[in-house]
């Protein structure tokens, strides 16, 4: 395929991320190691040591300082990246809000890992879900290819003048970060042309136009207006994510939107999932469809912004929907975050499907085909009977 000029390789997710970072070639990277993200920092450090990037690498003493340094650098007109997960992301918490509030385009892969306690280094989405209200765009990846592609697109999305928001690219710890995947890499030149140069209306390093970043919003200030505009930027990002996705398809042959669907044209019941679990679920959906069962699937890519309108349009005609959540909200029976948001999206709708929730895979608990099969049978029954047996289900518990 001469048009696409890609190179097919076998890489673990973390190396795919590091490769994307090399191609993005940020001006500044400030990062701190944490399992299972560590290899990203290590591989990128080796790239910097070999002079493969122009990046100023800041080996900070904590994730708190990593995000602080990213903020200081991004406010200076630099293209900036970091990477983290779990406890590291939690340590960044207050800075996540500052980064988005200052409207700084920072791109950060987060290798999803459970939050302590009990301490656990394996995958779930509890870490990034904790940051769901922090004003960051959050894009899920199903595999190494998507993690790589998402990072390249994230640069464009975050730096878009209608958006100017930081972007988190999510990939599942170990399942994606440490598993070898077959994937295509693009040429450096192509990536460089796609992302272009960063240009900012304001930077602290413009001597003709000194800039004050992060002033104090006094009692009679404009905090409310800033925040409302931040929400506006998040709304704008729906279009930008889709536009950038289309443009990316032209150079890569891989298409990206807010979500991806399978079998929605005739589905009577539908499963929604994000991250690597979508691969396992797709296998089962395809098996069932080949034996004539009308099941469909939606793989959510964009959790922030949450494409409520589009999902409602797509799902209001189906009989039943099951949302797979790899985290819990501890709200006392409300279910996982994606479930809660999807369910509330349907509030005004007269026509709505039955909706149920499967919480699975916390702390890296495996999502086996057998478990998916079991859930699918239950959803199928729910669609046929027209009755939700159990609103929130825990899939694969040992107790």
């Amino acid at each position: 395929m001469a048009l696409l000029e890609s190179k097919t390789v076998a890489l673990v997710g973390n190396d795919a991320v590091a490769e994307a970072m090399r191609q993005v070639n940020p001006d500044v990277v400030a990062a701190y190691p944490i399992t299972p993200q560590t290899d990203i920092v290590q591989t990128f450090s080796a790239m910097a040591a070999d002079g493969l990037v122009k990046t100023e690498l800041v080996n900070v003493e904590s994730e708190h300082s990593a995000m602080s340094a990213c903020i200081g650098a991004a406010a200076s007109g630099a293209r900036v990246m970091t990477a983290t997960c779990s406890q590291g992301l939690a340590l960044m918490w207050e800075l996540l809000y500052i980064a988005s509030g200052l409207r700084l385009p920072i791109v950060m892969p987060n290798v999803n890992r459970a939050l302590s306690a009990p301490i656990n280094i394996h995958c779930d989405h509890g870490d990034s879900m904790g940051a769901r209200d922090s004003g960051w765009i959050q894009l899920f990846s199903e595999n190494a290819q998507e993690a790589y592609d998402n990072i390249i697109q994230a640069v464009r999305i975050s730096e878009h003048p209608d958006v100017y928001l930081p972007v988190m690219v999510l990939l599942d710890g170990f399942i994606i970060s440490h598993a070898v995947d077959r994937m295509d890499l693009m040429e450096d030149e192509k990536v460089r042309n796609f992302i272009g140069e960063r240009s900012e209306p304001y930077t602290m390093l413009d001597s003709k136009n000194p800039t004050c970043v992060g002033p104090f919003d006094g009692l009679y200030g404009y905090f409310f207006e800033f925040k409302r505009q931040q929400e506006e930027a998040m709304k704008n990002s729906f279009q930008v994510i889709q536009d950038v996705g289309k443009e990316f398809e032209k150079i890569s042959g891989r298409s990206y939107g807010l979500f991806q669907t399978l079998g929605m044209e005739d589905a009577e019941f539908v499963v929604i999932a994000q991250g690597s679990g979508a691969g396992t679920i797709r296998h089962q959906v395809e098996c069932m469809r080949s034996s004539g069962i009308p099941v469909g699937m939606i793989k959510l890519r964009s959790f922030r912004p949450f494409p409520a309108k589009q999902l409602v349009e797509l799902l209001s005609g189906v009989k039943a929907v099951a949302v797979f959540d790899r985290s819990d909200t501890f709200a006392g029976g409300m279910g996982g975050p994606v479930f809660i948001e999807l369910r509330s999206s349907f509030y005004e709708q007269e026509k709505k499907p039955l909706i149920t929730n499967y919480i699975y895979g916390l702390g890296g608990r495996d999502l086996s085909i057998a478990l998916v099969k079991q859930a699918m049978q239950e959803i199928h029954e729910m669609a046929s009977s027209g009755r939700v047996k159990q609103m929130v289900n825990y899939l694969g518990l040992k107790e």
Binding site: D27, V28, A30, K54, T55, E56, V58, N59, V60, E61, S62, H64, S65, A66, S68, A69, C70, I71, G72, A73, A74, A75, S76, G77, A78, V80, E94, L95, I98, M204, L205, D206, S207, P210, T211, C212, V213, G214, P215, F216, D217, G218, G221, Y222
Partner: protein
């Protein structure tokens, strides 16, 4: 570089008048004295952590800083500015910036001694070229006078109140300048706004240092220390004369006493002027008062030893 008044008077003001610090506050005096030491031919980026100086100089949509400025959080001014400095090095190397920049952080004692210590230590160890200034008013003033680890023993603060069972803050302060010097950075110093020429000279050295530099400058706060606002400079001077705030510098590892004190004044002369120590002058707190004088004497001797001086 000159420290003559007639030359300094010609320098551009970076912190403009019209800010909202209290009249008589020591902090803006410290800022202006330090920035008198900045070279004329460089651009500046100023950074503040959360605190009095920050909330009073950048009330949106106004801004008193005649330079680029950033405030990010309370505990991370050092790491935030290290990102800016890294961005500068990166963009300069790529030929995207022509000017020479210098980076100056002004952090309160709370933002430096306490919550910001880790970020500061990281910056010092990594060697970012920046001038870090702790404007030290010995408490968290912005949030209403709470103790910090810079607060002198015996002081009343709202979280170390004196009472039937307490003479105020029970612990001695932390030796932050010593901790900073232990990072083996090119330049670290203690200064006081009463000794302005000394401040400017130290600031000049700090700006010249090819790496991180640090100045811990005493900047009294009359609201927290409880004295009439016109006595700010006098108190800063008494702190030096009673040796509770020794002026010295550590230049490439060499300690040097920059203000010799011929005849140390009794600590009481300094404490008596301040409402925060008023409770010490009672029968009940005699012992505590004595122990503070002993601490100051011990500490002064330690500094003299480090600076290769002996008490006269």
């Amino acid at each position: 570089m000159s420290t003559k008044l007639k030359d300094l008077a010609k320098k551009r003001e970076i912190l403009e008048s019209g800010h909202r610090m209290c009249a008589g506050c020591g902090a803006p005096v410290a800022v202006r004295q330090i920035l008198m030491g900045a070279p004329d031919d460089v651009e500046l980026v100023i950074a503040n952590p959360t605190g009095c100086l920050e909330v009073s100089t950048t009330i949106y949509p106004f801004n008193s800083w005649n330079a680029s400025y950033i405030h990010c959080g309370f505990e991370n001014v050092a790491s935030t500015l290290s990102g800016t400095e890294a961005a500068y090095r990166s963009l300069k190397r790529q030929g995207k910036i022509e000017e020479d920049y210098r980076f100056v952080a002004f952090g309160g004692d709370g933002g430096t001694y306490d919550i910001g210590l880790q970020a500061l230590s990281g910056v010092l160890e990594r060697g970012h070229r920046m001038v870090y200034v702790c404007y030290n008013n010995e408490a968290y003033m912005n949030t209403g006078i709470q103790r910090s680890s810079a607060t002198l023993k015996g002081a009343w603060t709202t979280t170390s109140p004196h009472g039937k069972e307490s003479f105020g803050k029970t612990e001695n302060r932390k030796d932050l300048t010593g901790i900073v010097a232990a990072h083996n950075i090119p330049y670290a110093a203690q200064a006081s706004i009463s000794h302005w020429r000394d401040v400017v000279r130290k600031a000049q050295k700090a700006f010249e240092a090819d790496g991180p530099s640090f100045i811990n400058i005493l900047a009294p706060c009359h609201r927290g220390w409880r004295y009439p606002m016109e006595q700010t400079i006098e108190l800063a001077r008494l702190a030096v004369q009673t040796c509770v705030w020794p002026l010295y510098e550590v230049e490439n590892g060499v300690w040097n006493l920059t203000t010799k004190v011929k005849k140390k004044k009794p600590l009481e002369e300094y404490l008596k002027l301040q409402g925060r120590f008023a409770h010490l002058f009672t029968e009940q707190n005699q012992e505590a008062l004595q122990s503070i004088q002993e601490y100051v004497d011990r500490d002064w001797e330690r500094i003299l030893r480090l600076c290769g001086e002996t008490e006269e």
